[in-house]
Amino acid sequence: MNTRSNDFVIKIANVNGTGSASANGLLMKAIFRMGIPVVGKNFFPSNIQGLPTWFEIRVSREGYLARSGRVDIMVAMNAQTYARDLADVSPGGYLLYDSTWPRDKQLTRDDVTLIGIPLAQMVNEQFENIRARILMKNVCYLGALAALLDLDMRVLEELLKETFADKQKLVAGNLKAIELGYQYAKQHCDCPLPLRLEPMNATAGHIMVDGNTLAALGCVYAGATVGAWYPITPSTSLMDAFKEFCERYRVDPETGKQRYCIVQAEDELAAIGMVLGAGWNGARAFTPTSGPGLSLMNEFIGFAYYAEIPAVIFDVQRVGPSTGMPTRTQQADLLFAAYASHGDTRHVLLFPADPAECFHMAVAAFDLAERLQTPVMVLSDLDIGMNDWMVPKLSWDEDYVPDRGKVYSQEQLRDMRVFHRYTDSDGDGIAYRSLPGVHPGGAYFTRGSGHNRRGAYTEDADEYQDVLDRLRHKHDTAKALVPAPVVHSKKGVKTGIVSIGSCDAAVREALDILAREGTEVNYLRVRGFPFNREVEEFVERHEHLFVVEQNRDAQLKALLLLETNVERRKLTSILHYGGMPMDSRCIVSGISEALAKGAAA
């Protein structure tokens, strides 16, 4: 076999609760530090201990960050899934297993090279403690992989030392376990394999981090002070991260007191209520959640829309309906979020495609929520939120000033003859608000019942409609304020892809593959709702559009049909909704087949 450096997929099959995550994370980070683009996807069960998990690492010289659909090296550490894991290996691939125990002869494949390493045996001889034996088995296969793949051992050691900086004893144990695996592989296998790592310089200026962490960091930088939440996978780590950042950067150095307030609510109804109470009272407030939580929040979201209260909601989407598959990814909350709650409601949505965008869109979400006085939902997903992605390093503009929107000051209220809460004095559909406790002249009654432009209760048809129409106008104003789409387009190309969020990496890889096959396709990735003018123009100027998204019901397509003038016949869906992050194959085949059938010129 020809050597294939820096372009392969390692998949590690483990049992959850055995401490494999840290070993797998170390492997990925070591590759990253060798300057080689890499991405890791964690497939884990909704369970604490004893069920199968997989960690898939794609090493990609080209910098492709989606899954590839291949498995070149399987590390089969879970007897329960062994047969299935063996079947998963791509022809010509390798499978590393623990040869401590005899293996079923039936379970081999002619086109897969098996590599047996007596992990348990070696580890048990060297470690006394039962827990250490379980943990060190993981570190031991890491050592074997290092030899097989030619991983830079100095990088690995350095990483270990950093990871366990304050636990020197652990460093020694880990190094010993690595050495066991490393030496065994060196002595018994043909190292390195044709699939191997070669140092590059393609990760400088990048970081490796998950989207929930950066969304939380965005909240800190946006100046959010109130966070309310109810734990739910896959959003929980967002509030965990916010808390950690705040403990570090939001404590008054003199008094030791907190410049933030986090409330773990009794449920999501209360979490969103707290966010609205805080937003109404002038603080930047947010709640992270996922589908079931967003369902509970519906009544309040409609209230916030109608009473015009700023709020930021992070919906880290997971597989629905209902409880669905809590640890799998999807983009199936689009329609629901766009029109959440009863009555005529429509919301502002942001769609990050990777962790870096989670950071920037978190900041943008607070600006938009206060500018537009309405809930803004950031729709990421489990893949973005919980997996580590390689993204360009973030920078911060020191001149950034939060947009607190139209809020009358004490002086303005004092000098005003009369204040009317819901009057559109600027013509953009956005009225001025006042905050409690600032000036008597600013008092008004916030209500979810019918009200007129003065803020008074009404059941009068004209007065009611007047406010409802202004809200529609305000939502149209939002079109120009939400982040513009990202467009890759060449003149003259008549076929386009419209996609969203975490499909991005797969779409971009598909575009390269299609281009190599001679098919040019343009691409627009929407980043906000209501749709920006550029979205309208893109769908108008292309003759055939493939709408790529991760749900069954073509929800992005439905939104395009509802909210733009695009003709239905132009749109072809490419859907992926099994819960695994999407890869380029379904896009390439979907487009190639459609084009072959002559669906598009």
Partner: protein, 351 residues
């Protein structure tokens, strides 16, 4: 018409408080409730209490859920911001508002349906967090606004206007508050302004969650003789256990309070509540005692009222979470943003 502006008549003879304001300055728009509704009496007591406390109306945030009772914040403190949340969810709104600015006065007005049925969870949790607010339940044993269905506070055997008899045991917010760890638990009656006004004042000044359950008969759906939440029934079985006098910070506590039956409890801001035990064997600082006393009297069909429990040392939400003393919403952005150097430092972790 469902919204009426109240004519502003200047009565120069009305007494003024220390801010130079009359009770008129503490009123709101005209009530649209049924004539004789208990809720309107509570509104009047609130006006009186805020006026007597010399609180500037705009320093108060009024919050409510949905129901006849929840409409009342429109009828007092016109110069205060008000918010009518959704049904049963006022406690979360109050929690968030309080999180944003701990330095305003928070007043929540709710109904028995709003707090004990749909909103029981939020009520319990706001209480448990000891949010610094006065929380009034205007308790009439029915859903007024939806026309007379039994609420969760209706007593067993209580007859609805249409003749139906309630068979389910009631939820008593006072007993619930005692068992959930409430730091200020009181009950009163809309028809007893003398008892109600000082309780409201003490509740406003209490540093924590003050629950005030006020029996407030619904004249339209639940004021007939078979109802246990009627004026007649309430008056007959009324059992005051402790009377509370509120003494503001500056006034010295009268000597009379200091001996015998009176018991001064100093509040956070230096003002005092003087508890006079109407019932000699009552101890309002012992939770277990309060609970068993209430239980005893409830069995006899008596409605125990007064400031039934107080613990001024229980820490409120911000004290527990160690929040800065300024309002979070007013913190300058420079104190909130870690800046670009910190961002650099943070990102080293992700290399």
């Amino acid at each position: 018409m469902s919204f009426m502006q109240k004519p502003r008549v200047i009565h120069s003879k009305l007494p003024k408080n220390e801010l130079g304001l009359t009770t008129r300055d503490y009123e709101g728009s005209m009530s649209t409730l049924c004539a004789g509704c208990g809720h309107d009496s509570i509104t009047a007591a609130l006006i009186q209490a805020f006026w007597e406390l010399n609180i500037e109306p705009y320093k108060v945030a009024k919050m409510s859920g949905i129901g006849c009772s929840s409409k009342t914040p429109a009828y007092f403190l016109e110069e205060a911001h008000g918010i009518n949340a959704v049904h049963g969810r006022m406690p979360s709104i109050a929690t968030g508002a309080n999180a944003a600015d701990r330095n305003l006065y928070y007043l929540g007005v709710s109904g028995d349906g709003d707090s004990l049925s749909i909103g029981f969870g939020q009520f319990a949790h706001a209480l448990r967090r000891n949010i610094n607010m006065l929380y009034i339940i205007e308790n009439n044993g029915v859903y007024g606004l939806t026309k007379g269905q039994f609420s969760a506070s209706a007593d067993v055997g209580s007859k609805a206007k249409k003749g139906e008899v309630n068979q389910q045991p009631p939820i008593d917010p006072v007993i619930a508050a005692l068992t959930l760890g409430g730091s200020f638990v009181a009950r009163s009656f809309s028809g007893d302004k003398g008892q109600l006004v000082p309780l409201i004042k003490a509740g406003i000044m209490h540093n924590g969650f003050a629950l005030l359950d006020v029996l407030s008969p619904c004249v339209t759906f639940n004021d007939h003789e078979d109802s246990t939440k009627s004026y007649a029934h309430t008056r007959q079985f009324y059992h005051p256990a402790v009377h509370a006098d509120f003494v503001p910070q500056k006034k010295p506590i009268r000597a009379a309070y200091e001996n015998g039956e009176a018991m001064p409890v100093e509040l956070h801001d230096g003002s005092t509540v003087v508890l006079r035990k109407v019932s000699k064997d009552y101890n309002p600082t012992n939770r277990a005692h309060a609970y068993s006393y209430l239980h005893e009297h409830q069995k006899r069909g008596e409605i125990v009222t007064g400031l039934l429990y107080i613990d001024e040392d229980q820490r409120e939400m911000h004290d527990i979470s160690n929040t800065v003393s300024e309002a979070l919403r007013d913190l300058p952005y420079a104190e909130l943003c870690p800046g670009s150097a910190a961002l650099e430092e943070i990102q080293n972790l992700y290399r």
